[in-house]
């Protein structure tokens, strides 16, 4: 007989709370014990999480193949840098300004582009990135080819001086962003997005304004990309056109796909895992040092190659990405009955664990 208190907390909520508590404990431990180098790695991973979350909404849920996320990250970085340099804005208003710029840009580009077939959208967004890089290289305002420096900044009384400060900030921001996006995806908007991906004609017949919904997804992804770019710029203190190469968009898309299109949780895990790839590679090359000198020379190319390998491997073995793999695992280990995932899309993939001796009593 379950007690009245526990009966009001469903098993899934309890599990979720446990996961969050464990994550919080782990992060606190990390902050206390880690050195600057690993904090830098963590920062980079968290920036990727924010940018990828934005792309997850667009590519994963709305099904629009955008190769522009890197461009919006660049808008965030350069927007913040310009705001800090020309208007002496601290990080919060500078970030907001950069996000506003990204919003405007996404609407301007999205309105014509989103009507196109997804292939044309991909090419159009690629063109956007190319044009943006070109523009940034030309203008004195954005430091031309040499790039820009960002000043030390603060949020109110909290001075952001060390890497650890940014780690805390990024943790707070990424948790907030992921939570907000998750809520959005569960709500009506999220379902509308999924509907437009799966059957856009049917969605339109149901009264969903397909263009408006797609535009919303595009704008949201742009704004989140800019948020990531802005904080990253302040944390790194220097940005150049090379900070935002075309491959950045591809890397972000890889993260979303490896995580599993349509799964925000998968995207977050993939972002964290794939951010560790450069580190693993660096460790590997220093270990192999003399044996493969070429490896360390071509580190960047090999890094991108490993991304590609990951991408191809995941897609060949499990096209639904990490999320799909997770569902596959859950199907094979029947535990307590799983409450159906409330994430939209891929309804056919939902797993109902069998009701065996582990049935939990719910309700009074």
């Amino acid at each position: 007989m379950s007690s009245p208190v526990w009966s009001t907390i469903s098993s899934s909520t309890a599990r979720r709370l446990a996961v969050w508590a464990a994550a919080a404990a782990a992060t606190l431990a990390m902050l206390a014990l880690a050195n600057d180098y690993w904090l830098l790695v963590a920062n980079r991973a968290l920036v990727t999480v924010v940018a990828a979350a934005g792309l997850a909404v667009l590519a994963g849920t709305a099904g629009q193949l955008s190769v522009a996320q890197g461009a919006f990250v660049a808008v965030g970085g350069y927007g913040a840098a310009v705001a800090a340099a020309e208007l002496s804005l601290p990080i919060v208003p500078a970030t907001l300004a950069a996000m506003a710029a990204a919003l405007v840009l996404s609407l301007a580009v999205g309105l014509p582009a989103l009507r196109l077939d997804s292939l044309y959208l991909a090419v159009a967004t690629l063109a956007l990135h190319v044009a943006l890089l070109f523009l940034v290289r030309q203008l004195e305002l954005t430091g031309a080819s040499t790039g820009m420096r960002l000043p030390l900044t603060s949020i109110g009384a909290w001075r952001l001086d060390d890497i650890a400060d940014y780690t805390v900030l990024l943790l707070a921001v990424s948790v907030a962003v992921v939570g907000a996006v998750a809520r959005l995806l569960r709500a009506r908007t999220g379902r509308a997005l999924a509907a437009t991906r799966d059957r856009d004609l049917a969605a339109a017949a149901l009264g969903i304004d397909v263009t408006r919904v797609r535009l919303l997804a595009f704008a949201l992804s742009a704004v989140l990309g800019a948020l990531a770019g802005s904080i990253d710029a302040f944390a790194s203190r220097t940005i150049t056109p090379d900070t935002y190469p075309l491959t950045l968009s591809i890397q972000l898309l890889t993260v979303v796909i490896v995580g599993g299109l349509g799964s925000l949780g998968g995207t977050v895990v993939a972002a964290l895992v794939l951010s560790l790839v450069p580190e693993a590679l660096r460790g590997l090359t220093s270990a192999l040092g003399d044996v493969a000198p070429r490896l360390s020379e071509q580190l960047l190319a090999v890094q991108t190659g490993i991304y590609g390998l990951f991408l191809a491997l995941v897609l060949v073995t499990q096209p639904a990405g990490l999320a799909g793999g997770w569902r596959w695992l859950r199907a094979r280990w029947p535990g307590p009955p799983a409450t159906p995932e409330t994430s939209p899309g891929l309804a056919s993939d939902r797993v109902r664990a069998d009701h065996g001796p582990h049935t939990t009593q719910e309700g009074p």
Binding site: V123, V130, F134, Q138, V302, G305
Partner: protein, 289 residues
Amino acid sequence: MTRLLQALVDGAGNGGIYALVALGFVVVFRTTGVLHLALAETGLVGAYTAVVVLDRGLPLAAAVLAGGLTAAALGWLAQRTVLRRALRSDHLVAVLITLGIALVLRAAVALVFGTDERSVRTSLGATTWRVGDITVWELHAVSFVTAVLAVAATAGFLRWTRAGLAGRALTDDEPVARLMGIGAPAASGLAFAVGGGLAAGAALLSAQAGYLGLGTAQLGIHALPALVIGGLMSVRGALLGGLLVGVAEQLAATYIGGELVELTPFALLLAVLVARPAGLFGERRLGRV
């Protein structure tokens, strides 16, 4: 006037190279419905192979053959192993796998050959003729003629051979074609192989201008606007699109100059898409409800 003509001639030459790559894309896309993002990189591997053969002192013809075959084999292999399942089910996944392959190939090339550019000097790149006031590079002439021949051969193949007819049937209605016994996997493999060969040819020609390096894979980025302008499925469109992009680029370089030239293909793409959303020769596909 001379400047204009010179720009047109040079542009046609470059355009021929873009057209070859675009044709590769078209061949693969028509047969499989997949945008082969690793095409340029496959061609790059072929070109490097050819250069290695050339280094051994073997004649140009042997090098070209070796390079073309290598790229073709690579394309065929990719289709057979990695892409097979995806081609049957989800085209988006297949496209993304090709992206992964592209990145892996780049890394492989960087590891084996380094990222420095190799100079490739053969007589092809150095010979010029004078026609009136204009200088015609032998390389440009060869590129243009090769592109036209390749397009004509492909169009002819599709039109007049049984295999070509089978290919067209697959493009029109794949399930029905397969029910009638047309082997899609074989056709796909061939398409990927042909695409690879074409890309290798393009990369080699491009290399004759002086050097071969990872940057040569940028051909893919230049060919994409050409592909889309021509219409994704049209063989003629590939030629016209390639030529248009080549000429537009050259005109921009002659009359405007500077870094703006890089944007020209995309600006042209935008202009064409606004007027004709399906490209010049493309057809608007009617989707299934």
